[in-house]
């Protein structure tokens, strides 16, 4: 789960990482009711989860409260990256002397936290890592020993910080690591980390991504609609289904992520256009009725293709969920199925009893679905 910049900065501030003074507004009225000590000029930063908002003009500097009010009015409700902007962060501008980069993420190959620092900030790190990978210093952190003082010293020295700056950076790195671990983060990133004219360090931005699988122990965060690209995706998530919209006309329901991706690849290979990714495998295999409901809500559907090859997901249990749902929902599009795995004979019998043809092989079913969609 991605957090908004203002949420990240709140976490940073509470952990002792310096952040610019500011406040969040959700409406132009909130601008009128601003804290008394608000000075001008200020930075206006639209709160969005997608990247590249600076290039879209959603970070601006203003010196006039009427203009600020108008801009907030214009931005709130505006679409950016599939989301409606809901809030704007207003904060004091920084006197930037130098920009740095720091982040902590999971190194999957080494199974440890990985700290990345760079003496030049501001740029997207993916860009920098492809243009000048040598500029990024990486440090693997032992998950039980934690981030050690010598590792911090090395990094601070390599990016060329000295004296009070070095001390401030050391404190900041160690606080950032504490946040990373205590919040079950997949990513904490400060880009840019600003050194101002007086030599103070500031987190000018805050990117925090929490592991979805750990949200049950961080109950203050809950995934809302803003975390998803569209309504169907959000609804599927609430039903424990994994859904991605793909824009085509063949609705796809499968068990297992690997088999689902394979089915999508085979549809494209056969000249068809998949409408979606929808996996109801694993522990959710009894969710067949919900999966069907989700897929049928996709606009412009020509055919529905259902492919299973269960291990954990028993074919007969899937059929038991699916057959009554088909009877109830009465889909207007043809359905093609390849249902295999434990209990497959019984499953086939149940499905064919309601007049749906079943296939033994995935490819055969895919070809039939493509043919029906293009007819």
């Amino acid at each position: 789960m991605k957090l908004y910049e203002y949420q990240g900065k709140e976490i940073f501030g509470n952990a002792g990482i310096p952040v610019p003074r500011g406040f969040v507004v959700h409406s132009p009225q909130d601008v009128d009711e601003r804290p008394e000590e608000s000075d001008l000029p200020v930075m206006l930063k639209a709160q969005v989860l997608a990247g590249k908002r600076g290039k879209a003009g959603l970070i601006q500097k203003y010196s006039d409260w009427t203009q600020i009010r108008d801009t907030v009015d214009e931005w709130i409700g505006k679409e950016f990256g599939g989301q409606k902007i809901q809030s704007v962060l207003i904060e004091e501008p920084l006197d930037i002397e130098r920009e740095l980069y720091v982040a902590i993420t999971v190194d999957a190959a080494s199974a440890c936290p990985l700290m990345m620092v760079c003496g030049e900030g501001g740029m997207e790190i993916e860009e920098l890592s492809s243009v000048r990978p040598e500029a990024i210093i990486t440090e693997k952190i032992h998950v039980f020993r934690g981030l050690l003082p010598y590792q911090i010293r090395d990094m601070v020295q390599t990016i060329g910080l000295q004296g009070a700056n070095a001390k401030a950076a050391s404190r900041l790195f160690s606080n950032l690591y504490r946040i990373f671990r205590s919040l079950d983060a997949e990513l904490v990133e400060i880009n840019p980390l600003v050194v101002d004219g007086k030599g103070n360090l500031w987190a000018a931005d805050a990117k925090v991504r929490i592991d979805d699988n750990a949200l049950s122990r961080h109950k203050e965060y809950k995934k809302g609609r803003e975390q998803f690209d569209d309504d169907i995706e959000y609804e599927a998530y609430q039903n424990g289904l994994s859904y991605v919209g793909l824009g085509g006309n063949i609705g796809v329901i499968c068990t297992g992520a690997g088999l689902t991706m394979t089915t999508l690849d085979l549809i494209k290979l056969n000249g068809g256009r998949p409408a979606n990714f929808l996996d109801f495998g694993g522990a959710n295999y009894k969710n067949a009725a919900n999966a069907l409901r989700t897929a049928l809500a996709i606009p412009g559907l020509k055919v529905l293709l259902l492919v299973t090859f269960g291990l954990f997901a028993r074919a007969d249990t899937i059929a038991e969920g699916l057959v009554p749902a088909i009877k109830e929902l009465k889909p207007q599009v043809p359905i093609v199925m390849a249902v295999r795995g434990t209990g497959e004979e019984k499953a086939r019998e149940m499905i064919e009893a309601i007049g749906i043809e079943t296939y033994n092989d995935t490819e055969g079913a895919v070809r039939k679905a493509v043919e029906l969609a293009e007819a």
Partner: protein, 293 residues
Amino acid sequence: MGIIVSSETRVLVQGITGREGTFWTEQMLKSGTQIVAGVTPGKEGESVLGVPVYGSVRKAVREKGCEASVVFVPPAFSKDAVFEALDAGIKTFVILAEHVPVHDMLEMKTFASEKGAIILGPNTAGSATIGEAMMGFVPFWLDYVYRPGPIGVVTRSGSLTNEVSSHIVNAGLGQTSVIGIGGDPVPGTRTVDVLRLFEKDDKTAAVVLVGEAGGTMEEEAAELIQKGGFTKPLVAFLAGRTAPPEKQMGHAGAIITGGKGSVEGKMQALQEAGAKVVMKPAEVGSILEQMSL
């Protein structure tokens, strides 16, 4: 004999009294697995299908000499269960649960490697040595999918493994071991670790790799082949060729980020290393047939 689990392995089931734990214990017993004990805290003295249940792993190991564990514990408690078993001396784990927090996995993998233990999973169907033993939920009884034979299978997914395996059997062949490493971004065991085990296994003549978009495990496999660490024929099928970037395709590990982890790049790396990369699951069968193994 296969790799990771054999009919000799003394297996423990953690969480044996749960519904899924009991259902799959029955299947594992039918497959020939020696399940010598189960553990559910608070249920010591009970028995499941004739398997004695203990309240702690320590006691189960002391009385029954367990060496490997199938972990049927919910994701939030997997770490504690695995730590308990590592401390008790268990050396092989299959973690079946999906949604295990990634920080927990970092700790489990680090602790396991310090103890010289291996973990398969999380989010895996487990490991089976066909005709001998099974830890997890591999449906070995589907005889058009699994039969004893000379092919090793290493895979990141579940249902797709059945699909691909059915084409191995359709080609008149069968499997030595089927090893699921799971669909998570930080698996306990990586593809290359399994390839090294298959390399040493005399019964395995060739290996089928079932991979997918995201991560770097297929690229690492290609590198291992280039360096001469794996010399047997390798056939690879990778799912997610058409997966859009920055979108998680079900498995937490199946996401193409920052231009990395695309199937195209993986296919190219494997091809350059000399592996046979196929476009459809059915072609796994036809290409193995041509190899005259």
